[in-house]
């Protein structure tokens, strides 16, 4: 018999994690992307490299460092102790921290590209119209970069949904708290509950197809709208 409560709990948790992660990434990724796109600082590409590292690093590297960093000896433990805990591992918050780092390049890169594509022109025109830099940012740069935000948000969301290695290493497999979709699938396969595994894996396949198609369509529309 299919146990839909287990499946549903994993789906809901995964959607929550991806949503929170995407929001956090848009908030902290936007200024980073803006700085990377506009700054003339020499060490700019060093920062860009740090942001892009999760693209190359195996999740086990991130998972290992996170396990130490979130623990009682690391900064995560210090933060947890403020709230009466002792470690951020095995918590939803810990997964958000891991996911933000892991999915960062997927959000920052498209937004940075979009900011770069705007060029100096529109911002200078806004300045001649006496718009403050902040005003110009909100009313000129952000609307023009909207497709970049859309692509970044979709990719960041989707990449977080697909996360596995980091969660496996720092999650502790707690139902409703850290037992996300990919880990649930892994468990179902291991315990030979392949009907459950098929339900989730098939759903993920369809989801991934839709996401990538959506990104391609967004990009095609941008390609058409820019002269």
């Amino acid at each position: 018999m299919l146990d839909f409560t287990g499946i549903w709990s994993a789906v809901r948790l995964t959607l929550e994690l991806a949503t929170v992660t995407t929001i956090v990434l848009l908030v902290i990724g936007t200024p980073v992307a803006w700085w990377l796109a506009r700054s003339k600082a020499r060490f700019k590409e060093v920062v860009a490299t740090v942001v892009a590292l999760p693209l190359v690093l195996p999740p086990t590297v991130l998972g290992f460092y996170l396990l130490l960093a979130l623990g009682p000896e690391g900064p995560g433990g210090a933060i947890a102790s403020l709230f009466g805990g002792r470690s951020l591992a095995f918590t939803f918050e810990g997964l958000v921290i891991g996911s933000v780092i892991y999915s960062m390049p997927f959000v920052v890169q498209p937004i940075r590209n979009a900011f770069q594509a705007i060029g100096d022109g529109p911002m200078e025109i806004a300045a001649t119209l006496r718009a403050s830099p902040l005003d110009a940012f909100w009313s000129v740069a952000v609307p023009l970069a909207r497709p970049g935000f859309l692509t970044g948000a979709v990719l960041g969301f989707a990449h977080t949904i697909g996360e596995f290695g980091v969660v496996l290493m720092i999650g502790g497999n707690i139902p409703g708290e850290t037992r996300v979709l990919s880990v649930a699938i892994y468990d179902y396969v291991e315990t030979l509950q392949w009907t459950h595994a098929h339900v989730l894996a098939g759903g993920m396949l369809a989801f991934a197809f839709i996401v990538i198609l959506a990104v391609l369509l967004i990009e095609k529309r941008i390609g058409r709208s820019t002269p």
């Binding site: 396990l67 805990g85 002792r86 095995f90 502790g172 291991e190």
Partner: protein, 251 residues
Amino acid sequence: MNDKQRLLALAVVLAAAVAPRLTAADTVHAAVAANFTGAANEIGSAFAAATGHEVMYSFGATGQLYAQITQGAPFDVFLAADRERPGQAEREGYAVPGSRFTYATGAIVLYSADPALVSGADTLRRADFTRLAIANPATAPYGHAAIEALKALGVYEALAGRIVQGNNIAQVYQFVATGNAELGFVAQAQVAIRDGGSRWPVPSGLYPAIAQDAVLLNSARGNEAARAFLDFLRGDAAREIKSRYGYGPGN
């Protein structure tokens, strides 16, 4: 390069490509439950020294390894952490009938990196901790044994909300060693050769015996090295290593 030289070069390249395959006939590929990692590595070295055969290990949770075996993973022998999975492998035609035997009996230990935390069953009753790590009871027999011990002590209901699961017994040790979980049920073999921390060997009456079976897999039916390895695993040299890691003898 003339044709002759070219042919010679080709022969050298081919020989280099084939050579490791020829020696691979003497390499045993073993799927091994994670709790047996330390002992397996020592037994592997002793086996290589005694017979000249090599053994290559893939460590994992018993359930995970079994799922891989049903899908044709290239293993010759399977050293599980329970009796069920090797028995199932035999019944379902993945293993050579009659080759199964108990190579070790495992024990669980309540362990903490904190030298002052674990004193005995009282530690669980006092519940002065936030996270208790166990191996996934659905796939790892050591996790199942931990749950049974908690139930036997009557503390399972009270502690269920604090349990975090490692994917296998090795990950449980990671969680505890890094302090992310204050304590956890590890395999005695993992801490037998380590000092430090605090520990309580769980009395064997509190959980079902963890008899660990080994079995020869079908693909290795005619593999002499694999059979030699299973014999070695039963022998005196292996027994000495196993007892040093805290395993009871098999049969």
